[in-house]
Symmetry: C2
Subunit: 214 residues, 2 copies
């Protein structure tokens, strides 16, 4: 497999964790989101992924986009070790947590969005940082509430095994830390993140451990 | 089943289509996103869904959130008629299209986001409309490119049967029209949308056909 990835891309980070967790060997093809006008806009990458977003995974003839869809594909084609629990309701809880992270937090503070705020609305750096912190804080606070209220929460987001909810949570938490978001009130989230980072798959997937990290 | 829904909520619209498509009876519990401070912020709803977003689906003891996770749950528990194609690569293509709509277009123009632009950054109505149009136009243009380049595109987004890609596409296209986004260059998208709207499940799920429509 070949993964088009950027070391600091949150969505690429998720797929890297899933690949390492399942022990799937892959090559990294770096796409630098901030070099020049952004390498994701170059024709070579756009022809693979018209959204010009990361990641893209190549598996034989298949060109796969969107981290949620890619992780489902990996789960289906390489089911062991599993990243989804047994049972439809349990799966829905895990997918719901992953989707809340993928759809309602991260898309609001990607590079293209903060660039639009700067260029179209002339929003300064300080306000852009407040924007980013607001959506991460708001989203993670809701997820903390979901985790704290549910008896299904265990050592990890769902029970005592790593699931897709953790795969999507940890990159967002590390991004929150990088932006200086206050995480003190997020007891479950910080506990789960610390635990996940002890797992070699999360460690191998860290931005700093990627071949394109500078 | 009971669906917490708002007639004009794009994410609720998706789940309504899936429920009707699979012939699953459900009651609608209206949550008015724009009445007062927004009924989604009331304690009664927040206790079900800490994200304070729509929709939430109740199935027996299960409380399900996030439209992507809910649709996967419906597909798993009521597999016929199917909304996902056979084969891991085909499923990944359909899920990738649905996720692009759910994660990279719609979250950028929800009420909470445009309210933040107005209140925190003092962005006027005209510029907020440009913001909304920009993200919808940009996102749908990329999806049109994906559809036009792939031999897997058929009468619908994937082959000649309705899939989750269509379930997620049509509400976004109708939202695009409501915001006055230029769709002329989106030949596949407009063709597929017209075809889907002839299906009774899409018709029954339309905002105007909901009990809370005014």
């Amino acid at each position: 497999m070949k993964l088009y990835s950027f070391h600091r891309s949150t969505a690429s980070f998720r797929v890297r964790i899933a690949l390492h967790f399942k022990g799937i060997p892959f090559d990294t093809e770096a796409v630098h989101l901030q070099r020049g006008d952004g390498e994701q806009h170059a024709e070579a990458y756009r022809s693979l992924n018209p959204q010009r977003l990361l990641p893209t995974l190549i598996d034989g003839e298949s060109v796969l986009t969107q981290s949620l869809a890619i992780c489902e594909y990996l789960e289906e084609t390489r089911p062991s070790p599993a990243l989804l629990p047994a049972g439809a309701s349990a799966k829905a809880r895990v997918r719901g947590l992953a989707a809340a992270l993928a759809a309602d937090i991260h898309p609001l503070h990607t590079i293209r969005v903060t660039q639009y705020l700067a260029h179209a609305f002339d929003i300064g750096e300080k306000e852009r940082l407040e924007w980013t912190r607001h959506w991460i804080h708001d989203g993670l606070t809701a997820i903390e509430e979901q985790l704290s209220k549910s008896p299904a929460t265990g050592i990890y987001s769902h029970g005592d095994s790593i699931t897709l909810a953790d795969v999507f949570l940890v990159p967002q938490v590390l991004s929150a830390k990088a932006y200086g978001v206050d995480l003190e009130h997020l007891a479950h989230i910080t506990r789960i993140t610390t635990r996940c980072l002890q797992h070699p798959a999360f460690d191998a997937a860290l931005p700093v451990n990627q071949p394109d990290a500078t």
